[in-house]
C-alpha cells in the first residue's frame, strides 16, 4: 500500500482511470445537454411571455395569454425556489412510485437538469430581451416584420449576445451542480469519486482528483466561451468596397446651361 499522498493518487488513477474518464464524460454530457435544452426552454418561455397582446384582441386570446403566462410563472418560481437535489428525488421517485415509470438514471438526470436550467434561462433571456433597445423592434415593425420575425432576426440575436456571459455561468454551474444528481445514482464524476474512495477509504485523495477534474473542465469551458463571445462580436475592422462614392457627388445640381464640360 502506498504511504504518500501522491502514491495514493497515482494508485487511484491507475485503478480507476477509465472510471474517472467515464464520469467526466457523463458529467459533461449532462451539463451540455442540460444547458442546451434549458436554453431552448428559456428562449421559448421568454418569447411566449413577450408576445404583445393588444387590448383590442378578443377576450379568449387575452385570457388565454394570461393563463399561459401564469403557468409559466409558476414553473419558473417552483423550479427556482427549490433545490435541484430535492427536485431530483421528487421527480425520480415520484415517477417510479406513482407513474410506475422507472427512468433511466442518465435520462432522468438530463431531464431534471434541463427543466431546472430552463427556469433560470427564462429569466436570463427575458433580461436579454429587455436589454435590447426598443428602437430595434420598432424599426423591424416599421419595415413590416411580424413579432416572430423581429424576435428571430433582430432582437434575439442581440439578446443572446448580451446574455452569453450568463449562459456561460449556467453552463459552469451545471458542470458542478450535476454532482447532486448522484442521489439518483447516475454515474457522473461525484458518484464515481464516492465509489473510488470507498474501496480503500481514501476520501481525500479520491476527491482531490475529482476536484482537479472539475476545475479543468470549468476553466476550459470558461476560456472557450470567451473565445466564442469574441467570435460573435465579429471583426473590429471592415473593408471598404470599391470606390467610396460621396453622397454629395450624386446630388450636385448644375444650374441650367452650366453643364460641366468633361
Amino acid at each position: 500500500m502506498p504511504t504518500t499522498f501522491w502514491g495514493w493518487v497515482s494508485l487511484l488513477l491507475e485503478k480507476y482511470g477509465p472510471l474517472f474518464w467515464n464520469g467526466t464524460l457523463y458529467t459533461m454530457l449532462i451539463a451540455i445537454s442540460g444547458t442546451v435544452i434549458g436554453f431552448i426552454i428559456g428562449l421559448l418561455v421568454a418569447i411566449v411571455r413577450t408576445i404583445p397582446v393588444s387590448p383590442k384582441a378578443s377576450i379568449v386570446k387575452r385570457w388565454g395569454m394570461k393563463l399561459i403566462s401564469f403557468l409559466l410563472n409558476v414553473y419558473i418560481e417552483v423550479f427556482r425556489g427549490t433545490p435541484m437535489i430535492v427536485q431530483a428525488m421528487v421527480i425520480y421517485y415520484g415517477a417510479m412510485m406513482y407513474l410506475g415509470l422507472r427512468m433511466q438514471a442518465l435520462g432522468a438526470a438530463i431531464f431534471i437538469i434541463s427543466i431546472n436550467t430552463g427556469a433560470y434561462m427564462a429569466e436570463i433571456v427575458r433580461g436579454g430581451i429587455i436589454s435590447v433597445d426598443k428602437g430595434q423592434k420598432e424599426a423591424a415593425h416599421a419595415i413590416g416584420m411580424t413579432h416572430w420575425q423581429s424576435m428571430l432576426h433582430v432582437v434575439l440575436p442581440q439578446a443572446v449576445r448580451n446574455i452569453m456571459p450568463s449562459i456561460g455561468n449556467e453552463f459552469v454551474v451545471n458542470i458542478k451542480d450535476s454532482s447532486v444528481l448522484n442521489v439518483i445514482s447516475v454515474s457522473e464524476l461525484f458518484f464515481i469519486g464516492k465509489s473510488a474512495a470507498g474501496t480503500y477509504a481514501r476520501y481525500f485523495e479520491a476527491f482531490f482528483i475529482i476536484a482537479a477534474i472539475y476545475f479543468v473542465l470549468t476553466f476550459t469551458v470558461t476560456r472557450l466561451l470567451r473565445l466564442l463571445e469574441k467570435k460573435m462580436d465579429g471583426g473590429r475592422n471592415y473593408t471598404i468596397c470599391g470606390s467610396q462614392s460621396d453622397s454629395e457627388a450624386t446630388i450636385t445640381i448644375h444650374p441650367e446651361g452650366d453643364v460641366p464640360n468633361d
Partner: protein, 244 residues
C-alpha cells in the same frame, strides 16, 4: 371634377396616454409627391402623430385611410412596406451588416430573392453614398452615415410614403448637412415625404407644404412660403419668432 386620390388620409385622429391627450382631432391628407414638413415645439404631438400613422402607437380614435381603405383592416406587413419610417435614433439592426440591414426586410416581408434584394439595396446605398460601407456594422459608422443607411433601408422596400421622425435631431451639427442633402434629393426625385423636423431651412426651402402643430392640434397648414413670411395664426408667429 375628378379629385386626385390621396395616398394617406388621416381622419379625426386622437391619441391619449392615460389622461394626457397628445393628439386631439387631427385630420389631413397626403397626396403623391407631397413633401410635408411638420413643425412645432417639443410636446406638440408631432412625433406621436407619425408614430400613430405607422401604428407604432395605436391611435385611440380616428381612422387612417391608405388609398381610400382603412389601414387597420389592411395587412400590417403590406401597409408597413408602403409607408416607411426613418427614426431619430436610426435604429439600424445592430446585429447585421449595412447590406443585411437593407436586405432583411425585402427578403422577409416582400419575399424577394437574395440577388434581387442585394441589387436593390446596393442601388439605394449608392444613392446615399454608403455602398462602399456595405460590410460595416452599424456600430462602426458615424451618426450621419447611420442615418443615410437607414434611409436606404427604408427606400429598398419601395415605399410610397416615407415618414421621417426628426431625422437630424440626434446628429452632430456637421453631419446634419449630409442627411439633409440626401433628403433634398429624394424630395426632388418626387418621393412623397412626411417630415417631422426642427430644420426650418428644410421646411421652408424643400417642402411643398408645412403643417404647424401646437398642443395636439394642427394650428396651421399651408404653403411654406406663406407660413414663413405671413403666418395667419398668432401662435405660429410666436413659434417662428422664437426659432428663427
Amino acid at each position: 371634377m375628378i379629385e386626385k386620390q390621396s395616398i394617406l388620409e388621416i381622419r379625426h385622429l386622437k391619441k391619449d396616454f392615460g389622461t394626457h391627450q397628445v393628439l386631439k382631432d387631427i385630420s389631413f391628407s397626403v397626396f403623391g409627391g407631397d413633401v410635408i414638413s411638420i413643425i412645432g415645439s417639443s410636446g406638440s404631438g408631432k412625433s406621436t402623430l407619425l408614430r400613430c400613422i405607422n401604428f407604432l402607437e395605436e391611435p385611440t380614435e380616428g381612422t387612417i385611410l391608405y388609398r381610400g381603405k382603412d389601414a387597420e383592416t389592411l395587412n400590417r406587413a403590406e401597409y408597413h412596406s408602403k409607408v416607411g419610417m426613418v427614426f431619430q435614433s436610426f435604429n439600424l439592426f445592430a446585429n447585421m451588416s449595412v447590406l443585411a440591414n437593407c436586405t432583411a426586410g425585402q427578403k422577409l416581408v416582400l419575399h424577394r430573392d437574395g440577388k434581387e434584394a442585394e441589387d436593390k439595396a446596393l442601388y439605394f446605398l449608392s444613392k446615399v453614398g454608403m455602398d462602399a460601407y456595405r460590410n460595416a456594422r452599424p456600430g462602426q459608422l458615424s451618426g450621419g452615415q447611420k442615418q443615410r443607411v437607414a434611409i436606404a433601408r427604408a427606400l429598398a422596400m419601395d415605399p410610397e410614403v416615407l415618414l421621417f421622425d426628426e431625422p437630424t435631431s440626434a446628429l452632430d451639427p456637421e453631419m446634419v448637412g449630409e442627411v439633409l442633402s440626401v433628403m433634398r434629393t429624394l424630395a426632388e426625385g418626387g418621393l412623397t415625404m412626411l417630415v417631422v423636423t426642427h430644420e426650418m431651412s428644410f421646411a421652408r426651402d424643400v417642402s411643398s407644404r408645412v403643417i404647424f402643430m401646437d398642443q395636439g392640434v394642427i394650428a396651421e397648414d399651408g404653403d411654406p412660403h406663406e407660413i414663413f413670411t405671413a403666418p395667419k395664426q398668432p401662435r405660429t408667429r410666436e413659434f417662428l419668432s422664437r426659432i428663427l
